[in-house]
């Protein structure tokens, strides 16, 4: 059985904020942080705290400080998994234990509705992170930095798939030369301890247009998480979340 989890990057980024601002720098108390979270970072003071939170390193930028914390979150989950069995346990040759995956399909969006503001600077109700991808908009150092961050996770032990979604602009992949470079990019994945990667190659403007004029884009297919879907069939929040995935311009 595959056991999928949601929001590991949110947890890793949030732990980094607490570790750095509260325990190392001492620039924020836990009470101040809690108040800002309870108030969803509203007001000028909330905005000030949120700025501090956002300035702490984020998973997806090849920064060991936060990447190692995020890897620890995965390790803690993997350590717990052997304690659980399915109801097939002791009933013959069919598997009865859980393996880990990050294929949370689209549930990272509605699950986010239920989660208040988080110390990484995420606002209440906003999507959690998709798969093992960085939080929406957190990866600002280019696509190779995303790969390097994900390469530090215990991917070999995620037997059910360490799912990473990336979005590329069509222009960056047009022409034989760019395609050859993209092939080389994918060829580097096994060296990077990464085994499950998916791509969307659509202009932001096309996706935005499809939100306004769905009738013109009936056949627009996007890679959502572990599967493809017609863009028009997705809930608006999921459409927004896909658009907000950082477009890697090469």
């Amino acid at each position: 059985m595959s056991q999928s989890n949601i929001g590991m990057s949110v947890v890793g980024d949030s732990l980094a904020v607490v570790k750095k601002l509260v325990f190392e720098d001492g620039t924020l108390t836990l009470d101040q942080l809690r108040t800002a979270l309870d108030e969803d970072f509203q007001g000028e003071d909330g905005a000030r705290v949120r700025k501090m939170c956002r300035a702490v390193p984020k998973f997806g930028n090849d920064d060991d400080y936060v990447d190692e914390l995020t890897a620890d979150v995965y390790e803690s989950y993997l350590a717990l998994l052997p304690n659980y069995t399915t109801d097939r346990y002791g009933r013959g040759p069919t598997g009865c234990r859980y393996s880990m995956s990050t294929s949370n399909i689209t549930s990272y969006v509605p699950n986010g509705f239920e989660v208040g503001a988080t110390p990484d600077g995420r606002l209440s109700g906003k999507p959690l992170n998709e798969g093992c991808s960085p939080c929406l908009g957190a990866d600002r150092s280019g696509v190779t930095a995303v790969i390097n961050s994900v390469s530090k996770l215990p991917n070999k032990r995620m037997a059910a798939g360490q799912l990473l979604n990336l979005r590329f602009s069509p222009a960056s992949l047009s022409g034989d030369e760019n395609l050859a470079k993209f092939e080389s990019f994918i060829e580097a994945m096994p060296y990077k301890n990464i085994f499950h990667e998916q791509f969307n190659v659509i202009e932001t403007s096309t996706l935005r247009d499809a939100q306004v004029h769905p009738e013109d884009h009936r056949d627009l297919m996007v890679r959502v998480a572990g599967y493809c879907a017609l863009f028009n069939t997705l809930m608006p929040e999921t459409q927004d979340a896909i658009i907000e995935r950082t477009e890697q311009s090469l």
Binding site: E44, A47, R50, R54, D62, T144, N148, K181, L250
Partner: protein, 305 residues
């Protein structure tokens, strides 16, 4: 070993236009040309910069209250107005703004630190035949920093390219050139008068340095920017291409680079006037003849690199 420091703008990962394969491009700060079409003004002028991004501004007024002297930053109907000549604490406002509308650009770093950051991309160079490209600004204004970083990279088996406009004393940059596998060489006009009008400097040394590189048998990709109304006179562009052909087999490729206006927003964010407000971007058709002309001379050539 010496570990000089340099002034860096940023490291760009997965660059596909700065040489063969997947490149990691290091943009250095400072340039000795003032091309009117420059798309990277933040790297052209020396020193650290503070940019203001109007689209992130929430008009909260915090920077107006904190600016010294009072009145050097004002809130108007269309947003924040910064009097950069008057404001003495612009750098502080980066920390005052809660919405990241102010951004600090540029940092000083050691060659060893830069090399460490670049080498994170090693696996991608290995599968693609890529490497590191030093760009800018004019990277060879910091030749010791480039050479020291290159030496570390070469120890790891990485390939190194230099993206340069050629206005330097070749003895001063000799070591950096020795360590490079490829030079991306910009020639912005053939006539020195046109060159001076567009870039602020004549091109005699640029042309002679190109010949010196050819004598060293340095592999080169020559880049010819075409800016309407500035350096696109067909007669001069033909002479530019003839000159490139005269450099011989060391020229592996010619890239015709069409002027683009992607830098306009950066000028606004730096509080600078864009020097070419009315210039249009050329089309592929506009430069098709130049591409044909290159090919007629046996030069492998592309539009856009």
């Amino acid at each position: 070993m010496q570990d000089p420091s340099g002034m860096m703008m940023e490291v760009q990962h997965y660059s596909t236009k700065d040489g063969p394969g997947i490149r990691t491009t290091a943009f250095l700060v400072g340039c000795n040309l003032r091309c009117l079409w420059c798309a990277n003004p933040e790297s052209m002028l020396s020193g650290e910069k503070v940019m203001h991004h109007g689209n992130l501004c929430r008009r909260c007024g915090a920077c107006v209250a904190a600016a010294a002297p009072t009145g050097s930053v004002t809130l108007r109907a269309d947003g924040i107005r910064i009097d950069r000549g008057a404001c003495t604490n612009l750098d502080d406002l980066v920390d005052v703004c809660n919405y990241d509308a102010y951004e600090r650009k540029g940092e000083t770093m050691l060659a060893s630190e830069l090399a460490r950051r670049l080498l994170r991309d090693e696996a991608f160079w290995f599968t693609s035949g890529g490497g590191v490209t030093f760009s800018g600004g004019e990277c060879l204004l910091q030749p010791d920093f480039v050479a020291a970083t290159s030496r570390i990279l070469k120890d790891h088996g990485a390939r190194v390219a230099l993206d340069t406009a050629g206005l330097w004393d070749i003895e001063r940059v000799d070591e950096a050139l020795d360590l490079a596998d490829l030079v991306l060489y910009d020639i912005k006009a053939f006539d020195s008068g046109i060159h001076r009008a567009c870039t602020g400097a004549g091109n005699e040394r640029i042309l002679s340095n190109a010949q010196a590189l050819a004598q060293r048998e340095m592999p080169m990709i020559v880049r010819l920017v075409v800016v309407p109304g500035m350096n696109d006179q067909p007669d001069d562009l033909r002479k530019r291409i003839d000159f490139v052909a005269s450099l011989g087999g060391c020229v592996r490729q010619v890239d015709i680079l069409k002027y683009h206006r992607l830098g306009v927003g950066k000028y606004r964010d730096l509080g600078m006037d864009y020097p070419l407000p009315d210039t249009k971007e050329p089309t592929d058709e506009d430069v098709a003849w130049a591409l044909d002309y290159c090919r007629g001379l046996g030069l492998k050539s592309t539009v856009g690199g």
